[in-house]
Each structure stands twice: as structure tokens, then as C-alpha cells.
């Protein structure tokens, strides 16, 4: 009862509510709340497997990825004492840190070599300063044999005599810099930027990732456009054809959808390769004399991906078109509209929710596509996903891969937001 009293005070709606409820007794109210609560619980129980699945397989990995792209404690864990000692060293200065720091580092490096973790440090430092991997590793190997007490005293001399590179201020800058536990450097790299010695953000020597992002965007847009151009007339025909014909044609749309992605991609290889089906046919017809280079180009990536993603466009379009009453178009024509204006002004706007849904599906799927560009893309058909895979599998730079992936995710969310602003997500209709 106290609850109702509180509600009465809070808002007018609650007031109205309690008025209508006032006919019920207190026990009835409690009971009805119980029932509602139980229903909610049941509903939640039904959804729980899905929610848990999404958390475990989707949200958690994305969270880890985002975290990995900024949290990088490796160097801080490997040489903590050196980093503490480096804290008061001015990195913008052109003098290397003093011997005290070098002594501490020598002792830590010896310990790392002993624990067989010096390679980890070498890999991290080498990432910012190519060539330092062998300096660190070979120094570590030799330090392993030197007595620890001696190193505490003369570690600096030992370092400098083993490799002259330790005299170089650059390597110490990098060590100090990679010692930061939270870092933005992977994001900078992913945008072709870097910090210079004075901590200013400047362009890197190698310019690659921004170009690739733009190229992926371009390819994805092109594929989306192509699927609309091919999918629209086909869906229109499917929606207006007699049921029997439409059903048969629908199977042809769905059949490739059910076939393995790899099979479809490799059949494009068979079709497009130098002595493949397309080239042989064109040559026998005397249309061309030399075989065309179609495979391993951007062209083959676009054509294979358009083929693979076409059902994602046709299915929503078809179901939207199926729901459009043909009498609208007839009404427009009987009122004097010519077929083309009638189509553009009456029919087309009604199919927009379908085009929207299809375009969004195709675009989002294609911008992160991996396997088809990897197989048929050659060099100029590569997309950002392929370079992410390169950093996951070959260069072992998982942090950079995470940063690249996060940026891709961010870019897609941004585009989605723009899209929502321009078209409105509520306009989307999948069926």
C-alpha cells in the first residue's frame, strides 16, 4: 500500500494508474505484480541462452580486442626496474641514459635471457626500431654468461662493448616509450601516423593502412551498387511472375546461397584464370587474341563477391516487392501517368525499405570480407581484412591487428549512424 502511495506522489501517469488500480485490493495488486514478474522471468529464461551466447561469442571477444589495442603491458612487465630508472631521463635530450640505468638494464636483460624471454623484448622493441631485434638477442645471449654481481657494477661497459648500438639514443627512447602500459601507438600506426622524438604526431614513412581502408570502402560500395543493379530487376521479375515460375527461379537464387563459399570462390578461379573458361571462350570466338588478366585483380574480387552477396540483396527486395499491391501502379497509370514516371514515383519509393535493408546487409558484410579477396584478389584486390589477417598470422602483431579491427568497427558504426541520419533505420524492412 505504501508503494501505491509513493507512486501517487511521483507522476501524473502513475497517479492515473493507481486510480484505475484502486478498484483492486492490495493483495490483488501484489499478486498481479508477481505474475508480471514471473512472465518477465520466463521471457528472460527463453532469451537467456541467446544473451549468454552473444556475450560469450560476440561482446567478450570484441571487448578483449578493444582492450588489447590500447593495453600493452609486455615491456613494462619485462624490464620494470629499467623503466623506473628511465623515468627521470629526458628522452628529447640527445644523450643516452647514464651508466646507472644501463647497469640496471644489463642485469634485467641477463635475467630475461635466463628465463628465455629476451626474444619477447626484442620483438617489441624491433617493432618500433627495425634491426634492434638482433642487437637485443645477441647481447642477451652473451650477458647470460656474465656474473650478475659484475653486471651490477659494469653492466654499462659490457653492453657498449658487446654492441655499439646501445650508445644510440634511439633505442632507449623506444624502450622508454614502449614501457607505457596504455598506449595509443597502435591506433596511430593503423592511421599511418607515429610519434616522433619530440612526441609530435607525424606521418609514418610507410603509408598503407588509410589507403587500404579507403579501398575496402570503395570496393564495398561498388559491390553494393552492383548487387542493386543486378538484384532489382530480378527481384521485380520474381515478385510479379506466376508463383510456379517464381518458385523455380527462387531455387536458383538460393542454390548458390546453400553452396559452400569456398566452392563458389574456387569456381571463379576456374572461370577467370589465364587459360580458364572465359578466356578460352573469348579466344575461340576471336574476340581477343591474348588471354586477359582477370584473376588476381580487383575485378575478380568484385565479381566473385557480388555473386556471393547477391542473395543478401535479392531476398529482402523480393519480400518487400511481394508486399506491394500492384493496383497502386495501375491506379497511377489509369490516372494518366506514363509507365516510367509511375514506376519511379510510385513503385520505387515503396521498394526503398527493401533496397535499404539489402544495401546495408551487403555493404556491412563486404567491407570486412576476407576469404574471397584472399583467394582471388591478387595484390590490387586486397582489402583491410587481409592485412589484419597478416598481422594476426604472420607478423604476430596482435595489438596492431586489434587496433585495425577496432577502427574498422568504428568506421562501420559511423557509417551506420550517417545512414540512420539520412535514410532512417526504421525504414529498413527485411520481409
Amino acid at each position: 500500500m505504501q508503494q501505491t502511495a509513493l507512486n501517487t506522489e511521483s507522476t501524473p501517469t502513475a497517479n492515473a494508474n493507481s486510480d484505475s488500480l484502486s478498484e483492486l485490493s492490495a493483495t490483488e495488486i501484489i499478486q498481479s505484480r508477481k505474475i508480471i514478474r514471473r512472465r518477465k522471468l520466463v521471457a528472460f529464461a527463453f532469451a537467456a541462452p541467446l544473451i549468454i551466447f552473444i556475450i560469450v561469442s560476440f561482446l567478450a571477444p570484441i571487448g578483449t580486442m578493444l582492450y588489447r589495442s590500447v593495453y600493452h603491458p609486455t615491456v613494462a612487465q619485462l624490464v620494470p626496474a629499467t623503466l623506473t630508472a628511465l623515468a627521470d631521463w629526458d628522452a628529447t635530450n640527445n644523450d643516452r641514459p647514464d651508466d646507472r640505468v644501463l647497469n640496471i638494464f644489463a642485469v634485467e636483460l641477463k635475467q630475461l635471457a635466463h628465463d628465455r624471454r629476451s626474444g619477447k623484448l626484442a620483438e617489441e622493441i624491433n617493432r618500433s626500431l627495425p634491426g634492434s631485434s638482433s642487437v637485443i638477442k645477441s647481447t642477451a645471449r652473451k650477458l647470460k654468461k656474465i656474473d650478475q654481481a659484475l653486471l651490477q657494477q659494469t653492466g654499462a661497459d659490457k653492453l657498449l662493448s658487446l654492441k655499439p648500438q646501445w650508445q644510440n639514443v634511439e633505442i632507449w627512447r623506444v624502450i622508454k616509450k614502449s614501457g607505457a602500459v596504455f598506449t595509443s601507438s597502435f591506433y596511430l600506426t593503423a592511421l599511418d601516423l607515429m610519434h616522433n622524438a619530440n612526441d609530435e604526431v607525424v606521418a609514418r614513412d610507410t603509408q598503407i593502412y588509410v589507403k587500404l581502408y579507403l579501398k575496402s570502402l570503395k570496393i564495398a560500395l561498388l559491390i553494393t551498387l552492383l548487387t542493386v543493379v543486378i538484384g532489382f530487376p530480378l527481384s521485380y521479375y520474381l515478385a510479379t511472375a506466376p508463383t510456379k515460375t517464381a518458385n523455380i527461379l527462387m531455387v536458383f537464387v538460393l542454390l548458390p546461397f546453400w553452396t559452400s563459399l569456398l566452392v563458389r570462390t574456387t569456381s571463379w578461379i576456374a572461370l577467370l584464370q589465364t587459360n580458364g573458361v572465359v578466356n578460352s571462350v573469348l579466344q575461340t570466338l576471336n574476340i581477343i587474341t591474348e588471354p586477359l588478366d582477370m584473376l588476381y585483380t580487383q575485378f575478380s574480387t568484385v565479381i566473385a563477391m557480388t555473386h556471393i552477396l547477391l542473395p543478401f540483396m535479392i531476398l529482402p527486395l523480393y519480400s518487400v516487392m511481394k508486399g506491394i499491391d500492384p493496383t497502386y501502379l495501375r491506379a497511377a497509370m489509369s490516372l494518366g501517368a506514363k509507365p516510367i514516371p509511375a514506376f519511379i514515383r510510385i513503385y520505387l519509393p515503396m521498394t526503398l525499405p527493401g533496397i535499404s535493408a539489402g544495401a546495408l546487409l551487403v555493404f556491412i558484410v563486404s567491407i570486412g570480407y576476407y576469404i574471397t579477396p584472399a583467394l582471388v584478389g591478387g595484390t590490387d584486390g586486397q582489402m583491410i581484412s587481409n592485412i589484419i589477417a597478416f598481422h594476426m598470422q604472420s607478423s604476430n602483431n596482435w595489438e596492431l591487428a586489434a587496433a585495425l579491427g577496432s577502427l574498422l568497427l568504428g568506421a562501420i558504426l559511423l557509417l551506420y549512424w550517417i545512414y540512420d541520419r539520412l535514410v532512417g533505420v526504421s525504414n529498413i524492412k527485411l520481409g
Partner: protein
């Protein structure tokens, strides 16, 4: 009584050969004809001899999968066949167990292991050299025009030998070849490649044939491209071309000039639960006779005593017979510059 004695003797023999119960572990290699040769000459005889079971899986090299297993603590592989280029890095990052080289058996001719193996095979504490293999270029006798290529210069000479060249899409080997074809002596290749100037020179040389290059990602594509006319010259692991000539009678010719050779080694993944067993297997697999079986796919054995078992006709076709013409791939250089050159290479490709 006699029967009982014999049974007892058999039992004693059993326990002597395998002191424990039959166990199972996992070995991983590169598959294809090479994997089949390892299965035939190393795994099968070992299983027969000891009664243990080995699960044999394939991978495509690199250390990413090993790293993932060691870092997550979920070790699925015990023994891996790994390229020296990756070994150096995997070992110093603590992804592999140290292998006790002093436990390796002497060769069948009685020469101690440390004398019998070529020095490179035992140069890393984490592994034991298994084969010498090489990357060379090969041409198709049927489709080549302009003569017979016999040096690395011919690969870069699109005037005399017109047609596509297929190269593996990575900086390794391609950068070395570019400098060699540009007249850099073998001994200076890696020294020069470590400098910005040398890298630019290599890319400039590659630029001269860029529009004639077909790129591929896996060695299995090399003989295929040469066969279906996708290219007139291909870069390939020598075993793949050898296999195509030997088993399928393809009109392929190998050019040994400037081949870049490397070793594959057996190593044990850090934290393997079957470490003792894995060591035992590696000792067996790298002994004289199993090693000699690798000649079937034209990969050279790493111990001298194995050559006693190799067919004399095959020896000239093994990389080990052409070491003077070749250049040894530098694991250290690629550990240093693999990632930065990988990026620059990708940038160059996009230009």
C-alpha cells in the same frame, strides 16, 4: 618352461624398448608430398617400433598458432616441423623447449652426432635440423620463349624471356633475388638489405618486372601456375617442382642459380605434456636412415651419414649438392626486418 622363458624374454625386450605404456602425441608438419615422406620414413617406422601413436597434422608454417597455444596454456601440438626463419624467433620468445643435442644418437657409420650433422642443423638450442630445402625458380620447357634461362638475371629479363613470372607474395627471397640480379655479391646481400638504400634498390629492381609478376600465397600454387600457363617462370620450393617432374612428368626445369636455401627443424612446443616422448621421437626421426627418406621429395638430409642410403642419381638434384650456387636465408635478418619489410612490401604492392 621354454615357452615361459621366451615369454619372459619378450617381456624384457618390450620393457627395454618402451619402458612406458603405449602413448599418443601430436606432430605437425607441412603436408603434401613432404608430409607423406615424413609419414612413411619417420612416423610409421617409429610407431611400429615403439607402439606409440602419433597424430599427424598439417599447418602452413609461422609461429602464430604455436604462440596462441603457449599463451593460452592449451598445448595441442607436441612436435612441430618449423622453418629456421621462424625458429630463431620462436625459441627466443620461449615458445619452444630446449632440445638436449648431446642425446642425439651417432650416425649409422659411427660418427658422433655433433660431427655427423651439418653445423646449421644444430645451431639453435631449440631444434634439430631435419631437411635442407630451397627456394629456386623453375620454368616450363613447353611455354618458355627466347631460350633457356640459367641465371637469376634471366628472371628479371623480360625482353629476352617474355611472359609472366609467379612469385610468392612476401618480401622474403624476392628482396634477395632483386639485389642479386642487380649485381650485389652474395656476401653483401643482407648487409645491404638492412639499409634504406639497399631496400630502395631492391624495390627499384622489382619495379622493372612488377607488371609481369603474378603473386601467389602458397607453394602448392607454384607448379599449378607453371602448368596451366599462368606464368612461364615460377618461384617454388624445390620439392614441389621435383615432385611435379618426377610423379607427373611435367616439362619443368629447375634453375639453381641464386637459390635461397634454408633448413626445416623438428622442435618441441613449450609446455608439451609428452616432452620425453617427443624428444625420443625427434632422436629417431633425425637418425641416419629415416633422414635419408627425405630425398624422395628432393629435400636434402642434414646428416652426412644419411647419404649412404640415398640413391646416387638423386644426389645432384638435392639442394645440398648446389650450396655453392645458393645463398643461405638469414633467420636473424628476417627476425629483424621481417615485419618492417613486410609493411614496406605491402605498401610497394599497393603503389
Amino acid at each position: 618352461m621354454n615357452k615361459l622363458k621366451r615369454f619372459g624374454a619378450a617381456l624384457a625386450l618390450c620393457t627395454a624398448v618402451s619402458p612406458t605404456m603405449a602413448e599418443q602425441f601430436t606432430a605437425v608438419s607441412f603436408g603434401g608430398a613432404y608430409g607423406a615422406a615424413q609419414q612413411k620414413h619417420m612416423l610409421d617406422p617409429y610407431m611400429k617400433k615403439t607402439g606409440h601413436k602419433i597424430l599427424f597434422e598439417n599447418y602452413s608454417g609461422g609461429i602464430a598458432e604455436i604462440k596462441a597455444q603457449v599463451e593460452s596454456g592449451n598445448i595441442l601440438w607436441d612436435v612441430v616441423d618449423i622453418e629456421v626463419i621462424d625458429l630463431e624467433r620462436a625459441c627466443s620468445e620461449g615458445l619452444l623447449e630446449v632440445f638436449p643435442h648431446d642425446t642425439l644418437p651417432a650416425g649409422d657409420d659411427g660418427v658422433a652426432a655433433n660431427k655427423d650433422f651439418i653445423p646449421e642443423a644444430l645451431s639453435n638450442e631449440c631444434g634439430v635440423g631435419n631437411i635442407i630445402w630451397t627456394v629456386l625458380f623453375s620454368y616450363n620447357d613447353k611455354t618458355i620463349k627466347g631460350g633457356t634461362p640459367d641465371s637469376i638475371d634471366d628472371l628479371f629479363d623480360t625482353k629476352t624471356f617474355p611472359g609472366k613470372r609467379a612469385l610468392r607474395k612476401r618480401p622474403q627471397v624476392n628482396m634477395e633475388w632483386a639485389l642479386l640480379a642487380d649485381g650485389v655479391p652474395k656476401a653483401q646481400v643482407y648487409e645491404l638489405l638492412a639499409t634504406k638504400k639497399g631496400q630502395q634498390r631492391a624495390f627499384a629492381k622489382l619495379d622493372t618486372i612488377k607488371d609481369q609478376i603474378v603473386w601467389f600465397d602458397s607453394w602448392s600454387q607454384a607448379p599449378q601456375l607453371l602448368n596451366d600457363g599462368g606464368a612461364v617462370m615460377v618461384q617454388s620450393a624445390n620439392g614441389r617442382i621435383f615432385d611435379a617432374i618426377q610423379s607427373d612428368n611435367k616439362p619443368f626445369k629447375m634453375v639453381w642459380d641464386a637459390h635461397v636455401y634454408d633448413l626445416d627443424v623438428w622442435a618441441i612446443v613449450k609446455g608439451s605434456k609428452k616432452k620425453a616422448l617427443a624428444e625420443d621421437f625427434i632422436r629417431y626421426a633425425t637418425s641416419s636412415r629415416p633422414e635419408s627418406g627425405m630425398q624422395e621429395v628432393a629435400y636434402g638430409p642434414t646428416r652426412n651419414s644419411s647419404y649412404a642410403y640415398v640413391d646416387k642419381a638423386v644426389i645432384p638434384k638435392l639442394p645440398s649438392a648446389h650450396l655453392d650456387e645458393g645463398l643461405q636465408a638469414s633467420g636473424e635478418f628476417w627476425a629483424d626486418y621481417g615485419e618492417s619489410l613486410g609493411e614496406k612490401f605491402n605498401e610497394w604492392l599497393l603503389k
